[in-house]
Symmetry: D3
Subunit: 247 residues, 6 copies
């Protein structure tokens, strides 16, 4: 029995509120249980120097937490004057994940900035960021497609992410909340496309190592979670989801 009464392969309640803030081309507030992240997609009509004149675009991501998103207040990275290693890891992960389903040639010489700002954290902030950022990206692409800035729908598949882990009773769990995550022996983040292909797989056994068999159990429940998340993304996007079907 899990701390919040869920089954081992059950997601927390997922809510994706679109157009949460007014300025960005695309934005959502995604909640996975008590984890809440504002994801925005900004379209800038230029690319970094290394891509100029090549006729293709770029997508990059940034991630941050409000100081009191967590139980203990964290010092702001701006005050410390540098971005923590954990933050860099996460924002590099989000960027790579989104690049796998965005056709950079179809967006032309544009940069998409994805910003994931965690306003409340209860485990799984990086996976919620990816799942939410996908929707913000789709909203932004719809906007520039409708505005005639791009000619073709540039997103090639759905993209969602979920955490899985093994607890001290050797049980494989889906979508760990903070308390579960803190006590897990193995922690894995899985990023997959709508057709069940891996984009990223990051598993860590700091407290305990894990066998190939355990890996397989984790991947089984991760696939189940990804299916459910993609379903929610599709419902959230409504008519925009039809763009994906055409692909």
């Amino acid at each position: 029995m899990r701390v919040d009464g869920r089954d081992v392969d059950q997601l927390r309640e997922v809510v994706i509120e679109t157009n949460y803030v007014k300025h960005p081309e695309g934005s959502v507030l995604i909640s996975m249980g008590d984890t809440k992240v504002i994801c925005t997609a900004t379209v800038e009509d230029r690319v970094p120097p290394f891509l100029r004149g090549k006729g293709k675009g770029w997508i990059t991501a940034e991630y941050s937490m409000l100081p009191r998103a967590t139980e203990q207040r964290n010092i702001r990275e701006s005050s410390k004057g540098k971005v923590a290693g954990r933050t860099m890891e996460i924002q590099r992960l989000i960027g790579r994940a989104l690049r796998s389903i965005l056709d950079l040639e179809k967006i032309g010489e544009r940069t998409i900035w994805i910003d994931c700002d965690v306003i409340q954290a209860d485990g799984g902030t990086r996976t919620a960021s990816i799942t939410g950022a996908f929707v913000a990206l789709a909203l932004a692409m719809e906007k520039i497609l409708n505005a005639g800035k791009i000619k073709e729908w540039p997103i090639t598949d759905y993209l969602a992410a979920v955490s899985v882990g093994i607890d001290s009773q050797k049980e494989a769990l889906l979508d760990l909340c903070y308390q579960e995550d803190a006590n897990a022996e193995v922690d894995m983040n899985v990023v997959m496309t709508g057709v069940h292909h891996f984009v990223e797989l990051q598993g860590t056994g700091e407290e305990a190592t894990f066998s190939r068999e355990q890996l397989n159990s984790l991947l089984d429940i991760a696939e189940k979670g990804i299916d459910e998340l993609v379903k929610i993304q599709r419902e959230t996007l409504g008519s925009i989801a039809d763009r994906m079907i055409e692909k």
Copy 2:
């Protein structure tokens, strides 16, 4: 006639949603029109080195904007590796303002961290931050008073802030939205207590200077705005507002 149809001395709609995030001792989401700020108050049971052993506490504030809180995306200060001058000015202002109504001896050797994070900006973010932070502070003080950590209510008066300005038709306006602020000839931020005393007064005429008479017009409408904001704070705080009456 103002861009959004308001009277010259009319505030935008103000909503203060309490306990907006779950971890902090006090938190609100304050909206003044389209300006939205998450204000949190964190109570830490220790003071900076220069205050240790003196039996009194400290309050300090930090301010930030999400990158896409504005029409154009701003580079994160953590990426730039330093806090901008504007940010420092604002967080120093918020901290000073709150220190004027908090009895630091009554909170004991504790530090109160105020975090004001703007999630959507449409002018007046620093004044909304002060008005919202006051409520978050009051919620946090109620919490530690109820927990028996402190013996007496430490807040000495209400505190609210509002912007006023003079537009190109020489009209004095209350609570400028971004478009008005960008075109104003004179911009002034007024921080006052519930009994109409000034805590801070910062007026700037970059495009145009202003006369003593114009100053007086600005202060008249600022006082009106402060009265209304204090009324909303009182209603928001409900029974906690009674603590203030006892003072």
Copy 3:
């Protein structure tokens, strides 16, 4: 009776020594009592990127203190690797103040750098910096006007600044020395033009709030102080002052 025997509305002795250093286009050493600041104006024949090709110029200011300008030695900001919030506030204030009386179109695509370096501090360093920087700016403008680089006198009015404050006996004082400043309940900096218009007004009541009536007393003596400072500026500038009369 004040600590140095002055009347409540009396300035300290003000001396402005022109051309104090040889390289800058304009320079002064201003002394207000024991506060001494070297103010220089540098004319650079280009503008920041955001102004290129717009036919107008820019003016910006930097402020610093020698480490031992004060009673206790301060760590250099270059050693700390960052500029303090207080410094940023002051240099932004100086820059804004000077922009109010300089016609940026008349200086063409040039940047004026104002450097205010405090070599001895005894209160009122930011206001002395503004008063002295005005003279350094006028000297530099005279130089480039005489050199034919600009066609018209670009300064629209005199500009001076002074501090006022309320002491623990509720007395309003003009031009506070450090000891008075440290004990003041209210501290206000007033920047005005030669025709008594406000450019900046910054009042802070950290220890105590202040009423509208007290504000008026402070502004009365500030105006008197500004008048005297402008008179000294005019005498210091000699024939250059005639340029101002033509305006």
Copy 4:
């Protein structure tokens, strides 16, 4: 046929030269083909503040490349004033990996610093760093065990790492050199213990996603590579390897 003529599941030549530098408690120069890394283990008789008085130790890792370890010269991170995200990711990975096989209670209140400095890079620098760092750590532990500083052998198992990937012909390859890595569609780093348990698994498909079946092929050849690396570690350690058998 691979660029260097190897079979798809063949490692490059691996050489581990022990005691490569004289000052550290343990050091090696590991070569995997043309990738060469100096790995050192430093034992410091104190722990970071958060561990003081808890009777256990800590191990942390740092990673760097000489500027011209690569085909193009890289700017030093010390010149840039900050550590790159990629570097942080790698050093966090090395540290976590080693923590999985070191009993921190058995080393007492000591910090082990692992430094991995790449002097020549040809792909797989992070996995070579882990494989080499394990040997440097074992040498350092032997030294302090012999010196009587610790009572029991603290390393619980062998630890090695290898890269695997999928090339454009959908072939799974073991131990990619730089040219193969640059062209791979999928890149995966596998860190395992001597008993074939996973410590870390990091797979990325930036250019192409990968199926569960492909994942299994990659893991099969990775296990083969790990076996061979552990064999080389055992031979390199000689009599110290007997400490591991006792476990």
Copy 5:
């Protein structure tokens, strides 16, 4: 014939104005021709951690230039966020030089901070800084000796510094002004004590190398310059100079 009409072995006019600023324990304004440096000596009643409890003191130096001390304005090091290599070299040189004539045991557990701030530069700023800092140090030592903080005079000898160089006509010159320095083929800074012993000798032939014979010519005129500087220091110190005689 030199650019300013001096003989090859002639110093520029040297003026040392004592107690130039009021707060420091010792201060001077030294002018060597148009090079002007404010040198201050601050006495702090504690030592850095590595010296605590050892019964001896420390002396350290910092050096900076006002932005417009030079013909072209320099960006402040505080704005750049780091201290330039040239600045570090100079402040390390000044510190080492003063350590050679100060008995650190006689000053007890105190730190002497030397600050050399160039307000106008015309070549030889580092040597003027050393010559001036010696006097500021002596003034500060006299002050704490008179105050009974130390028991014995801690300065063991005079200390002065001068630049010498070889111009394009292979002529050895004493005390180069900026224009001479910029055109010199060899540049050397000599720091000596009152008894003609070397403390530092730094010669550089970037444009041209120099022979042993040329080295000897440079040292001959440097000794002459040092003699004259020590004489001026002695006259400046007046009765304090008698402390040196007792040594």
Copy 6:
């Protein structure tokens, strides 16, 4: 008798291994006793902005130590976020020294980056860096000459460096190892060309000053050491050394 049994004017064993790493245009591993430095020369086909279009090149140097090159581990400069003053001094010295024997016009608009990375330190790392960097530079120049990138041999003379010092028995010593260096009263670094001309001379007497006579003794043994180093450089370069003879 010296700590390692050498005569007072005897160098440690010097070995220069060429082409130590494969990517750079020139590289060596130089050992002077237990001091070991990897020196690389990188040729970049462009120059810094201040030299563009002038038809000449640039050479610059960087220096670093691996954290455990020394008895005590040093914190990486990349972790500290800034380059130490000592490092800056050394890399500026290496750059200036090499500029004295490289004809920058003959290399065209190219930048030569010299990287000196100390992998093991036992005194004299900066002088070993210069001696080794000279050979790496010559190898790189041979490579681009053979490739037809430059037309003429651009190196004008040999360049070597050595440390000398005076120990507590007032004995002048050549090529100090770390233990001797730590105990020396006077420490001097001498950089000379093949024809015995000085390029740099840096002598410091922190613990004790030194007379003109002692200076001469130091220079005598330094010249002997330089002769021997140049002989080793010539033998190491083999046929490339003939390029120097042609000069």
